[in-house]
Symmetry: C2
Amino acid sequence: MPTMQDVARHAGVALSTVSYAINGTRPISEETRQRIFAAMEELGYHPNALARGLASKRSRIIALLLPTAKRGLGLTELEFVIGASRTARDHNYHLVLWSTEIRDPDELRQFMQQGLVDGVVLMEIHEQDARVQLLKEINFPFTMIGRCADNSHINHVDINFGQTVQVVVEHLQALGHTHIAFLNHTQEEFMAGYGPAVRTQRHFLEAIAAHNLHGLTRFCESNPEAGYTAVNELLLEDPELTAIIVMNDQTVPGIMRAIQNRGWRIPDDFSLVAIVSSAQVAQMMTPTLTTAEAPAYELARLSTEMLIQQLDGQKKDFSEVLVPCELVVRQSSGACPKERAAR
Amino acid sequence: MPTMQDVARHAGVALSTVSYAINGTRPISEETRQRIFAAMEELGYHPNALARGLASKRSRIIALLLPTAKRGLGLTELEFVIGASRTARDHNYHLVLWSTEIRDPDELRQFMQQGLVDGVVLMEIHEQDARVQLLKEINFPFTMIGRCADNSHINHVDINFGQTVQVVVEHLQALGHTHIAFLNHTQEEFMAGYGPAVRTQRHFLEAIAAHNLHGLTRFCESNPEAGYTAVNELLLEDPELTAIIVMNDQTVPGIMRAIQNRGWRIPDDFSLVAIVSSAQVAQMMTPTLTTAEAPAYELARLSTEMLIQQLDGQKKDFSEVLVPCELVVRQSSGACPKERAAR
DNA sequence: CTGTTAGCGCTTTCAG
DNA sequence: CTGAAAGCGCTAACAG
């Protein structure tokens, strides 16, 4: 591997001149610039990332913290990863992936102290998040996909849960539904202050109240069986229920089976809308699912760009960007049934 | 951030002694070792990854090359990413993710020349793969998830497609099926020499021949509609067809609809087995899918460990590890129907 | 068992 | 507009 010194000699200039030519840090006469780049080309020179990072104290590497949620990772997480990685590359940054078993601040500290990365993108944010606390304390650059209780002075993006759930409730109301249930993540996650679980439920109840509807909510584990049980219990609680809004893809098959087991058809007798879901999942189901699709790639791109701008010293202010899910009406939602077989 | 020099002063030893104590590169008396670690603790010292990398010429960073296949990324890819990242961490390596639009060797060269990573894990391997060519030429350490035409002197892992398809064919034969179709990836991918597409089709035809069955194959785009069409065309070609083995999850809903549209039931009138699939997808479908599940996490772990061993100088030989998919019988495969409605 | 020292390849003052 | 030189924080000879 040729070094900068080699290029300098080859071009008949000083080493520092080569550096300046590459970084554009100070004016270089067109002629020497030409010579330098010609030399670089000829020698097949490429700057060494580690040396550059060490000298400049900027590695041009950022990290995406990918915590393995107990409910398992899905396509949304994949899109986060891909979005972040692509965006980083578009801005001449590298992306390293830190997948941690738990949301452990000590481990995070370990990683950061190594001086490998210039900044971090956090996801799976909770209302009270120890990682956020830590990063603020030591003043380490970061952005979040998600929100915590106090977001002051933190660049972050998130799904606009309020708008998302509102649009979905209005979609169902327009179809004539008046008794609607919201199937949330687990109680455990809710209690732990997991943002989506907390916020969506609150906004659901607000929307229900605002539109004068009957609404009920329920927590649910992340598997078909739990979805099956949940439907039956919800119907026990409110026999007039005609629509469910669910936030967990994994439960959907169970929900459908529970409904069909009663001799009901979707969407003729019962409507189902999945939120924070994806087109790929929606099209896997029969009937295809009406969904509010998570803008995962977009959120990843935005959060990564925010971080990079922060690092590059543009962006003095802090911003919050909320993106709603997009409602895509497919076959699982339809007009509220006039009447329906008792069981 | 304290440096090694700070630690040395604080412990009253030479800088190099600290280095040796940390790396265990040479014997240190227990007493000074204690003092050094105490000093490190007290100062909150953490070695600087960039400096260490620059001096030692080993960054302890590896890259996973994640090409965005035209057929779209799925859960398998996510597992690759997570598996690689976890394994890297378990061995004190960092993982950077390079997601490239195309399998472009030039871009790859760019990345490597930066001297950021010590080695690379390649996926989406084709029979003739320019990236492999390049890496071999410049003697850059790498391993593959997949195989190409000439795998000599390359550590690699792959799905055992032969065994996988054989087990599935035998499963169907045991159920009495004699007319079986294999639904492959696209012709385009097959022609491009994409390993799974090429190998599985070959092994399918071998298994069919070995068991004296009637088999047919067909290419198929990666969406439900294409699956729908494919089924109808296959049945036109062989009206006695009673089972399909499919290698693409995305087509499954279409396949099911096509079968059900004929008034047939799965598995009573027709059997369906998805290979190189996942439990998560299998359970999304109704009826749940009989699948041969891709050992994605395992492959990622193995390939990453191979790379690290290679880098750490253990492992003088080169190895190939083939892992079969695990057949999980669920509800979509059953006994061959005695007779069946004509249409 | 420990210390001294020459780099690793680059950025960035400080001097022209 | 260009050069010379002092580091960045660490590893790994070399020398006891």
